[in-house]
Symmetry: C2
Subunit: 113 residues, 2 copies
Amino acid sequence: MDDGLTSTFAALADPTRRAILARLALGPATVNELAEPFATTLPTVSRHLKVLEEAGLVVKERTAQFRPCRLEVAPLEAADAWIAQYRAFFGERFDRLDAQLKTMMAKKAKEGE
Amino acid sequence: MDDGLTSTFAALADPTRRAILARLALGPATVNELAEPFATTLPTVSRHLKVLEEAGLVVKERTAQFRPCRLEVAPLEAADAWIAQYRAFFGERFDRLDAQLKTMMAKKAKEGE
């Protein structure tokens, strides 16, 4: 039943984890490099990385000596496809306001005739 | 610091809650109507609805007698905008494979000359 979306969304439900992904979008980084900008301990960052790895959003390179982490976007693509189903509804409230405004303006224009 | 994304993604990290949103995309529904397709109890569905309400994804109408629930897409728009930052990387692996394939084909063509 679970298609990976649950673990993807759960992994994204944390500001530190989203910041780690933003950093990795610039290029691979070691755990130490990733921990630097955060006012937190290395074990905390490692724990966040573990969640991201389990969700398939981060991969640790096996070849390089320092095993840098890199971003893996496939789960984000799946999350994007899920949200895309709702895109038809986006901006709906503004469309409604726009329609109301047009009706009001048409009415005013008619009154001014 | 938290811009609502954390509660949005946390709310989406559950298959029942995603199914509730999919049902509400078809139109407003009462809690009883929402509970029907799920092999679960009414309190469980109510608990999921509470999470969706707190994330601003579901609104309970105050006017109608049965207080139907309706979908509110604004948080999904924000989540979509966040994921959009990574769209440039989508299909990257395929681009890489495509480039490899072209190199191989060019090499083969050269060998055949």
